[in-house]
Symmetry: D2
Subunit: 240 residues, 4 copies
């Protein structure tokens, strides 16, 4: 499987604290543990030509991981349209944290994807509510993060096809933190944690979830569906 | 409840056969039986200013019904954006037949909404697969339509929140014909039948389903969700 | 609509604290606000003959509410079987709090319905995650209960058809607190709060949710489905 | 992975036509192609002691396949209870065809699992409605079976977690033919085709679906959930 890890990669340029936590960028950290898991991995970032998501890259990508935050509007609409088409054609998509507001996620969801948020160094405890799902293989009953940004309900998303995690936050909120969707032939997983100033993507269970999600999102091998005008498969009676 | 029935209203102008079946337009036929059911009903059509969907009309509409076919591209993007926002704010939306390819439905679904189709005067038998749903109140185990256009799988929609009808077609296909979705605070129902040359909207059970769907799609009365930056509801411990 | 409120009614006999909170029993409190809402309401309790759920009572009941806790095993299996059959035939069922372990709920779910619990006078904050659902009509973004028993995940239930509430607990857990299911022609709603020593059923928003749930669970008016051996509706070709 | 294929194995004894189609029994046919796919496979049948499902066999089984028809009532309730417990503990379960009426399937569903049926040598065309699901990997848009027993809606099952196939029948019915459920830690797949007098389990695409389903139903590797009385994870404030 070929994975492309896409990152906005702007905080890493402007904020030394982020650079300290992720010296090779958030994309570098994620690519690192996915390579160790045996996947073919490339990275792509916003400021590359075509945001690094050329037709060639997209056509070779089985699963795309997306992290963005402050520059969602800088992503070109035609790249968004191409990514959407690739998802509909079967590519898996894993949207992380602040990617909830990315053009690609909003386009695939059809809703605002808005939520509550707060940066307060608060504790998050993610509870597994779908224990037989392959995305939680090897994961205990909770994942605890000592400090994370809070995201709170109501999260304006379509009803998830599958709800995998629900987060408890120290400040009093809950959040649907792990949500799967199917769009066209592609599988989509939204996974909440990963504020840029915290070492969340160095956390081994977070890495396991993302690795499991990549496997889950692998495209099926099937002929593309046939659509449009269709000849009958059975005889249709003459009617008056 | 205030209902707005939106119709493209182009076939009625150009095709005498359609005009014969629907002398007051598809919108007129639908508005007729909804008025009899006691709703406040207005109509709106593509060629009116702002397609008849001004801010005033939209803000007064509890449930919008949508029929379009050959002129989806003539619907202005800013009207589509306003309708989407009203759905997210709570307005119900009932999308009929060829409206599967409308901009508003594709925007809310995030998929191509493509399908198989055939015009062959063929029999459709819609089977109720969700017998306790209020949308099928008073409906028997099937609705039979002697002649309809065929729509066949794979229908490129997100997994419905609720699947209400599955159609059997004489020519050998099946179709998920009645599908509910929630988007934001709004409820959406897609209902398959209604090719312009057939008297489908004069069929009493089809009328019952649409009437039931209008009731089901009624907005809830609740304060709008609070989103954005949020103060904690509980004390967050100082951390080192 | 005719509602029957079933209560085990044992804590009320043995525990003065419960009797103080619910002088007319939990069933009396629930019956009270449902009568005010205009429903026809009767009550039934464990120690009545046939637990108060005779064939006549069941056949006249549109929606049954169920509260039980310490004496689940005292409910006769044949009464459970009759209640199950009535649900499959269309009766609505609202299972409250410790009713998660009742025979009828476990029978309808097919799982253990086990969970974590703790009695510690702790705060529960129920978050609405399905804002367009009729069950939360008129309800704000949360319902706060100063003191309740904690129920925590993993709650061993089938994936809910609709998830309406998620609870945050002071002690660190979350819980899927409002869950809908369809079984046969009947609608089922599980609603978490209501420990016997707290005045939860005197809380106006809790009363609103239960009242809304009763309306939501109203049976549809339809002929019973036809099952068993079936004659073909279309001609089947002779095959060699 | 270790698979156990359970078969009632009565038609094979009494009906020469069935024995001709399945000389090694339905269980033998299914075990055959699963062995070729590389799984560890054993078989078990009704007339063995404990129906071949001893504690040892069950504890070693990752996925159980179930075919039964005329002798559902001969399956001992304690064996059913053990199989249910193993599913809740994580074992996958694939229920085939007339197994819809088996005690184990009805127990896990909580409904009657009744349906329409007809034996008329009629054509079934199964349409894939969930094209990204791993269970349809390698499968075309339909699977055609020249002659099968008809099963028709309304099928009295809970709403499937995922609907994978919908069948078209020559005689005019449709059916939800491939349905997934989660129960406890276990995954359940109901797959419709397989009347005993037809060579359905010799059909290569039917074999592919069952093989895919076995892989999909593989248990996750996780600690068993902790339930019962639970100590708080956070400090609970004293209240007056």
């Amino acid at each position: 499987m070929n994975i492309t890890v896409w990152n906005e990669n702007r905080h890493e340029q402007s904020n030394p604290k982020v650079r300290e936590v992720y010296p090779e960028g958030i994309h570098g950290a994620i690519a690192g543990f996915l390579k160790e898991a045996g996947f073919g991995v490339r990275t792509a970032t916003l400021d590359e030509p075509e945001h690094g998501l050329t037709d060639d890259v997209l056509s070779l990508t089985d699963v795309l991981i997306w992290w963005g935050h402050q520059a969602h509007d800088d992503v070109h609409d035609d790249v968004v349209a191409k990514v959407q088409q690739r998802v509909l054609d079967g590519m898996g998509l894993i949207v992380l944290h602040s990617g909830h507001f990315s053009k690609i996620f909003r386009t695939l969801m059809g809703t605002s994807c808005d939520l509550k948020w707060r940066e307060a160094d608060e504790k998050e405890r993610m509870w597994v509510v779908n224990p037989s799902h392959p995305i939680v293989d090897g994961i205990g009953e909770t994942i605890e993060l000592d400090k994370e940004e809070m995201y709170g309900e109501h999260f304006d998303i379509p009803v998830p096809d599958e709800l995998v995690f629900v987060s408890w936050f120290e400040g009093g909120e809950v959040f649907r933190s792990g949500c799967t969707y199917r769009r066209g032939l592609g599988k989509v997983f939204y996974f909440r944690p990963g504020h840029e100033t915290y070492p969340t993507y160095h956390h081994s269970e977070i890495q396991s979830v993302i690795t499991n999600a990549v496997r889950w999102a692998e495209p099926t091998t099937r002929p593309q569906p046939i659509r449009g005008n269709a000849k009958p498969l059975e005889t249709i009676a003459e009617k008056e």
